[in-house]
């Protein structure tokens, strides 16, 4: 079976069957060659895994305080990263805190990605009155700064995880819709969409086969760049007391409660901030790396 010979030593067959190389394997190959992106991906992955598998890591109870072991400095026996203002183990709280922080930092962007893409692709493909209605509605949300909008919606709905999830999703739908609409109306004008319509395919088939594949990656890259903003906003909501409520460990909330200890033990108070900083930086760099890896046409 000469055709299955993949060593490719001799060109005997006039027409060797070429191995199809998929788009995503090309993206993967380019990502692997980018060390910075790989490091960032590793950090984000480690944080997520640590948060998910926190109970298996043999950490101290993040809720158990001690009145005599409050605000212990870094490197204390039994508490490597010290203890917070109620004597709870910081390492455990930081890792358990990653669960909520990452969840309300990433989930709104994921939800907004689906909703915003659907709205934007519809507006961009259909055009006309549909476009006007969707895009002008979206524009209304642009009148408010995102932080203010998130605070306003959260404040109106009341504190709580679900409410901050909802408010952050609403905040991120407009920018994603904007990007999706812009990319889609660009693709809509290309000849291959005309050629696809000329086959007699209906709008949904054309969108599914020809539009989505060509617009999703720019939207996706844009959405990943929003995750860091979302994390900071989510932490900000908790800091203000309209997000996660104590005693749940959450980085933004921890930043708030440790704020008063900044003169006593500044390193300790900075730790949740460091976590937020590292995570959002890595997410940002990851999104940059993803953008260059997804660019097929050089």
């Amino acid at each position: 079976m000469a055709l299955t010979d993949t060593t490719g030593g001799q060109a005997v067959e006039p027409a060797p069957i070429e191995k199809p190389q998929g788009y995503w394997s090309g993206v993967g190959a380019r990502l692997v060659r980018d060390p910075l992106t790989m490091i960032c991906a590793g950090v984000v992955l480690a944080l997520i895994l640590a948060a998910v598998f926190a109970p298996l890591l043999g950490l101290a109870d993040p809720y158990k305080g001690s009145m005599i072991a409050r605000l212990k400095p870094l490197g204390t026996e039994g508490h490597i990263l010290g203890t917070d203002e109620q004597g709870r183990d910081m390492l455990a709280r930081l890792i358990y805190g990653g669960r909520l922080t990452l969840f309300i930092g990433l989930m709104p962007v994921v939800l907004a990605f689906f909703i915003g893409s659907a709205l934007g692709i519809t507006a961009g493909y259909v055009g006309g009155l549909t476009n006007t209605i969707i895009m002008r509605t979206v524009d209304v949300f642009f009148a408010f700064p995102s932080v203010l909008l998130a605070i306003a919606i959260s404040g109106a709905l009341g504190a709580g995880i679900v409410n901050s999830l909802v408010s952050l999703t609403i905040v991120f739908i407009p920018p994603i819709t904007r990007v999706a609409e812009a990319v889609t109306s660009g693709v809509r004008a290309l000849d291959y969409i005309d050629a696809a319509r000329a086959t007699g395919a209906n709008a949904w088939t054309v969108i599914r086969v020809h539009v989505i594949g060509n617009v999703l990656s720019p939207i996706f890259v844009y959405a990943t760049s929003l995750t860091s903003v979302c994390m900071i906003l989510a932490a900000g909501l908790s800091f203000l007391g309209i997000g996660v409520r104590p005693p749940e460990p959450e980085w933004g909330l921890m930043l708030n409660t440790l704020r008063s200890a900044i003169y006593v033990n500044p390193w300790l108070s900075a730790l949740p901030g460091v976590m937020i900083f590292i995570t959002s930086l890595c997410l940002n760099l990851l999104s940059d790396g993803l953008r260059s890896a997804m660019n097929v046409r050089d």
Binding site: E18, Y192, A196
Partner: protein, 349 residues
């Protein structure tokens, strides 16, 4: 061998005498909006009063300079642009009455000029070619697509899983032809299909088109600005100027005598291969007028050497020449009753 059956063109409903396509009074005006409220300020009269018919098995060449409405006409024919007015009758069935747009698109396919832009960069060649057949619910679209690729001279084993950017321009245009033919259409609209190719590849693709026409019994509408190419492939030629048809004639007839002054200038602008046979006709001066406000009467009168008072007021009708009824022209010089001082005498030498 069920696949060979799907190659067969769809049923011939009107018999051989019925023209495959009749276009009557086609019109498309694009609104130009502007101002504070985005109201329509003017209309680009892209295609106006266009009527013609295409017989079964013939190739109609459409020529004209840039912006004369050739491509808009092509897009109107296949419904990619919605017409304002006019009738499209495909093999005896009028579009919108007994013929749905989806059925029309089964029978009429189009090959575009830009071979790269018309292929989805994310789809393999095989998927692109098979897409139409899949949409129309034909049996085994992938197998059909492979056969079509083979037929247009692309080895499916080598090219099926490639992406458009991995192909040359000529190969991509073959893919586009394969994609159009995979739907087993009866009429193929070739919109500048070979214009972007270099001369040797152009010749190969033209020969391929000729072979395919014979093999599948196709009818072509061949749009181009290259008169020599149009002469090579066409049976009849339709000349457009500023959205209107000015002359329609069999190739030999129009090559022997260009009855419209515009056609004559167009032909004289063709470079001659013989240095002793240089162009004597003075070239056309200036650009075509703005289609937003086309000239009244005959649209060509602003650039015509023979324009008279009648040309500025009366719209000339497309009519057969006195000696040759197949040769249609829209010019007052040929119409004895037009009121032109030289009416009925034809274009002066």
């Amino acid at each position: 061998m069920s696949v060979t059956e799907t190659y067969a063109p769809s049923a011939d409903t009107g018999g051989p005498g019925q023209p495959l396509l009749i276009v009557r009074d086609l019109q498309k005006h694009f609104p130009v909006s502007g101002g504070l409220l985005g109201r329509t300020q003017a209309k680009v009269q892209a295609v106006d009063r266009v009527s013609f018919s295409v017989k079964k098995g013939e190739t109609l060449g459409i020529v004209g300079e840039s912006g004369c409405g050739k491509s808009t006409t092509a897009k109107l024919l296949i419904g990619l642009t919605e017409k304002d007015r006019g009738e499209i009758i495909f093999d005896g069935h009028a579009l919108g009455e007994r013929l749905s747009l989806k059925d029309l698109r089964r029978g009429v396919q189009m090959v575009f000029q830009d071979s790269y832009a018309t292929l989805n960069p994310r789809l393999t060649i095989l998927d692109s070619v098979a897409f139409g057949a899949q949409v129309q619910g034909l049996a085994d679209p992938k197998c059909l697509a492979r056969k079509m690729m083979d037929r247009v001279g692309l080895d499916p084993n080598r090219f099926a899983h490639r992406y458009p950017h991995e192909l040359s321009g000529g190969q991509r245009q073959r893919v586009n032809i394969a994609r159009a033919l995979a739907m087993s259409p009866r009429l193929v609209v070739l919109d500048e299909a070979v214009s972007a190719l270099d001369k040797s590849v152009e010749a190969q693709v033209l020969n391929l088109l000729g072979d395919l026409r014979a093999e599948f019994g196709l009818t072509y509408i061949f749009i181009s600005h290259d008169l020599n190419v149009v002469r090579f492939i066409s049976d009849r030629i339709l000349v457009m100027y500023l959205g209107e048809v000015v002359e329609v004639a069999p190739v030999d007839s129009i090559w022997a005598e260009q009855a419209h002054p515009y056609t004559r200038s167009l032909f004289s602008a063709m470079p001659s291969m013989d240095p002793d046979d240089r162009t004597k006709e003075p070239p056309l001066v200036g650009d075509p007028p703005n289609p937003i406000n086309p000239p009244k009467g005959c649209r060509f009168h602003t650039r015509c050497r023979f324009a008279a008072e009648a040309c500025k007021t009366k719209v000339p009708k497309l009519a057969g020449l006195s000696g040759n009824a197949d040769h249609l022209v829209a010019c007052h010089l040929h119409d004895a009753a037009s009121g032109h001082p030289k009416a009925g005498q034809g274009v002066p030498a």
